[in-house]
Amino acid sequence: MIDKYDAIVIGAGHNGLVCSALLAKAGKKVLVLEANNQVGGAAITREFAEGYSASACAHLLYQLQPQVEKDLNLNLKLASKNMSTIVLSKGSEHVSYCGSKVTGVNDSDQKNFEEFTKRMTKFADLLKPYLNKAPPRLGTKNKKDLFTLAMLGFDLRRMGQVEMREFLRLIGMNIYDELDERFENPLLKGGLSLDSVLGTHLGPRSPNTILTYLYRMAGKHGEISLPEGGMGSVSKALSDCAEAAGVEIKTNAQVKKVLLAKGAATGVELNDGTVYNSEIVVSNADPKKTMLELVGARNVETRFTHRVDNIRMKGNAAKLHIALNKLPTIKGFSDADYGQRILIAPDESYVEKAFNPAKYRKSSPQPIMEITFPSVNDDSLAPSGGHVMSAIVQYAPYKHKSDWNEEARNNFKNAIYNVLKQYMPDIESCIHAMELLTPVDLENEFHITGGHWHHGEFTLDQFMFVRPVAGSAQYQMPIDGLYLCGAGSHPGGGISGASGRNAAQVILKKGNK
């Protein structure tokens, strides 16, 4: 069977769906091929124990770009929005922050937090417009690129000398030093440290952790919400939107390779041998998988292959799902508190120490956690009376010394229990079922190289002009008609849709020439 499309999108991750919807809205005949049996890629809700469901990877919405929502007229149902972050103490003196307000700390910390978030928001706002367009090329004579670069410089300068200097000082810095200088409360510092290292192979003392923090703020100023029905409902909304625009979506259709002729994409071939033809192939898969597996190193240049091969993307975050008979007791918690974002990161050094073993291919004996109880405000996820805990647990390096054998997994599970018990003494009696997904599991289930759900570390050497690699930051790969639209391309990970939207714009612009 040979079908011809204007564009084929490999992978129905949220970026692939955004990209396909925008292409279809512009009149293209688009086919989306998804390897798994449901759309969403890693942004899905799935049942992990009978009657209990949770978002498989990311569970909170921070970064969904307003431009994406606007372009697609998305109207997401949220189970809760404007959530607070509560950093747990072993007693009941938790620290809670939301926006620029923080409670549970002294006056000076409150004042400093307000100033800190104000400044970070300002810097995030500086970056934000550049996240929503293709990054300019360096060393080019292209007028648009030069203009974008000039605007970036101008925006920076326009902040004034003091702020510009501060921005340049902070952009490559680590969050630890900045927090230590400003704040006294260890819980606050621990929480903000976790915010800066979530989903990365970085500790708060690693350079670059202010950039990761800014990136988190650049969506909606750090405003957090929980989609109703889990992350799968966001994907569902996106795929509905795509299908309404005329996109054809096939699930259980795993692409084996991108078909090429003379350096140009001509279509794709599935595992079962089915061939679909299109002169435009857009890959929502990560850059390594796309270039080294689907295209094949032999079809691209040596140095380029080398750069792709060297993209740092070994996942470090595990996902924990627990089916609960009842909510565990947390000292000093009101009912509403269970519906917030809950962190275990008692201080900034604790976070750094949790990271240390990851450097040597071991998991943290005392992990840090971002916990949600999504069932508190969403009945659809658990049977009546039951609850779901969904947590991101760090650090669990992809390249574990043992390759994540049974013993290593059990050790890590025990480490998690031990930490949880310190804050939720009755947790063991609440557990009905549990699932732990290491980066290796995430790789297997979602076909993400290294199980790194940002499709590559978000660091200065893999940012903007050099994301995914130098010479291909504008979504176009060095194969005619082949584009990337996933988180591995600019701007990066998180449920933002920006990569998909930017890629669609580049593809459409090219077509109009």
Binding site: L260, N299, T302
Partner: protein
Amino acid sequence: MTPVKINTGRLRTPFYPRLAELDCLNTWHNWAGYSSPEALYCEDMEYFAIRNSTGVFDITPMTKYRITGPDALDYLNRLVTRDMRKIKPGRVAYAIWCDDQGQVIDDGTIFHLREGEYRLCSQERHFAWLTTAAIGFDVSIKEETVEIAALAVQGPTSYSVLKNMAIDGLDALKPFGLMHHQIFDTELMISRTGFTGDLGYELWIDPDKAIDLWDALFEAGKLHGIKAIGTHALDLARKEAGYLAPFEDFLPAETTVRTGRTRSPLEIGMEWLVDFNKDNFNGRRALLKEKAEGSNWRLVKLDIEGNKTADHSFIYSQEKNNSEEIGFITSATWSPICKQNIALGTVRTPYGKPGDNVWVEVYYQREMHWNRVMAKATVVDKPFWFPPRRGATPPAPF
């Protein structure tokens, strides 16, 4: 702790004892870490051995890589610009390889030793590049320079010399062919290849049998004017044949810093080695673009009036107006066999088409005083020296 002496000096090839015996000049230089003679007794006589009888040159220092594995062919086909699928076992390919920007890294010869088993030989070392290029291929790359001793046996009587060694099948060996021969309880590989543009062979053997091979060869050649030669004689011969030398006629892209100093295959007259019909090879995209937009440079072979060697000369489009400087000479010599003042050079396009005349500014010194002459030169198409015996199969005996 007892100090351990590590020899960090130059290596000697397995033929060194024989070369040292013949050496009267003591002009050894460093070639890829080995001592190699510039000349052994007389550069001119050594050169004439290549053209009139047989010259033997020790090419052991030539960098050799063994390339094997299920993807060896695909790997090489992506590496070099020509189509390696056409090179059957028992054949040798002269090939060129480029970086991602389509700039030449080096040239070399690829020997298809047996089905799926290759040897790549080049002047410069390329292990890093070859390894990087292997990402995504099931291929093994092993440097085997020290494991193989090799001699170039070049000149009109070389066929008869080897014939005297009773090598079966030599008659049928065509240019760029290779064969295996059992001798001294080991395997001798013979290829009809060389760097002189003349009839000639290269012999490849286990280093332990190197001296045996040398002795047998010189015994077989004693009535055929066999002579050991050094680099200078070979360099003269290669210029006559129009062969390029890295670092002289082009710069290996991987070690060049300044932009614009490297050359693409199209710019050094190697377009015939570039097969755009292949799905991919490294540099293809860049070269297609260059082909469409036009190259900046062109390599020229020049036949220059007069007898003053045009070393390092500037090339002009006109005799009188020096502002029209269009390029420079990269290799030059007086060719004794052609009785021509010849040179290789690089000029900006559109200059330098075959048949064009250009002007070469030659400086020469007579008893301390410098003189300058503007010599007219003609761009020629063919190698300066390309005798019919080079291609004759079987070659004529002497």
